[in-house]
Every structure is written in structure tokens, then in C-alpha cells.
Symmetry: C2
Subunit: 114 residues, 2 copies
């Protein structure tokens, strides 16, 4: 009896949640965004760029990974519009695209260091 009541209540929630839930597409995009932050190399890249502009070879040095690996990951970050770049001669300097990235990283940091 008590059980059937709580079941009804949750049936109601079920329908309500179904309506309030963001669109399939939005949820997909959200997961895609977090997926990008969900890799050590990329998170490190973003944290470094959090401090300011930096060129590819220095990024590779700081991360202790190959230049190629860094370029590949920067490509992904560019694709997600999380970083910008400018060319100065042979060198390419990367920066964070906007403050959203900072907020997202900050948010995660809070959870980690609670």
C-alpha cells in the first residue's frame, strides 16, 4: 500500500521530468563538451593556457609529450572553439578562446579540492 503510493508519486515525476529534460541534441553536445575536458593532456593544455599565451613547443615541454601529440590535441580544442591561436613567424601561439573555459575549469577544481 505504502509502496503503491510512492510508486504513483514517482510515476508523476517520471512524466514531469520527461518534459523538463533538455533536448536530446543539447545533452549530446553537453557530453561532447565535457569529453574534451576529460583527458589529462587536454586539461593540462587548458590549465596552462589559463595562465596566458604559449607556443606549441613550450606546451610540449611542459606536458612532457611529443610535439605531434600536442598538435593533435590542440586541433581538437580548436574544433571545439575552446582555444584561439595567432601565428608569429614560424611560431604559433595559443590562448583560451573565452572565459567560459575558465569557469568550467574553476567549477571542476572546486569539486576536486572540496
Amino acid at each position: 500500500m505504502g509502496e503503491s503510493e510512492s510508486l504513483e508519486v514517482h510515476q508523476d515525476d517520471f512524466a514531469a521530468v520527461q518534459q523538463r529534460l533538455p533536448d536530446e541534441e543539447v545533452l549530446y553536445d553537453l557530453a561532447e563538451l565535457y569529453k574534451i575536458f576529460g583527458d589529462t593532456t587536454r586539461v593540462k593544455l587548458l590549465c596552462i593556457l589559463f595562465e596566458g599565451e604559449m607556443c606549441v613547443q613550450h606546451l610540449a615541454q611542459l606536458l612532457q609529450v611529443s610535439q605531434s601529440a600536442v598538435s593533435h590535441q590542440l586541433r581538437i580544442l580548436k574544433g571545439a572553439r575552446l582555444v584561439k591561436y595567432r601565428r608569429d613567424g614560424k611560431t604559433v601561439y595559443y590562448t583560451l578562446a573565452d572565459d567560459h573555459v575558465r569557469e568550467i575549469i574553476g567549477c571542476g577544481m572546486e569539486h576536486i579540492t572540496e
Copy 2:
């Protein structure tokens, strides 16, 4: 010449950033956290639980995936302490663990819907 100057400047940044950068371990944990959000099924689960408590079979229905798949993902969310659960008879109800999760989801949503 102009180039060598900008190179020096970035050498300085290099050293400074190296010091200010969070510990390897922290960055690893940060990536691990985002990795969890970086999956459609899990993000959907979290968004649903954002609205309130819900049992496993209803979660499976809403997500249109098998009960097994949901349980496997809930296990991961439990491991990361992002959700809590309580048992009521045969049924297990899940909820978000705390408000951090809400903030992190909110942060990502802002970036998506800009």
C-alpha cells in the same frame, strides 16, 4: 630581433606557468571528473536526477537503454560520489550527491547555449 624579444618573454612565462600549474595529481583527478560527464548516458542520468529522485527502471525507460547499462553507469557515478541512493523494498532510488554536480552541469549548459 623582434622575434628574439618575444621569445624571451615567453621563456619567462614558461617558468612562471610551470610553478603556478596545479599538481599532476590534481590535473589527473580533474580530467577523471570531466570524463564522467563526457558520456551521453551519464550526462542524461545526471540531468534527470537534477530534477529529483528516481528509481533504476524509470531511469532506464527515460534513457531508452537497458537496465543493465543504467546500473553500470550508476555504478560509475556512485564511485565518483556524484550520486547517492536509498533502498525502498526491491526498488533503489538515486539522487544527486550534492550541489557541485548542479553547478558543473550548469556551467557546461551556459557554454552550449551561448
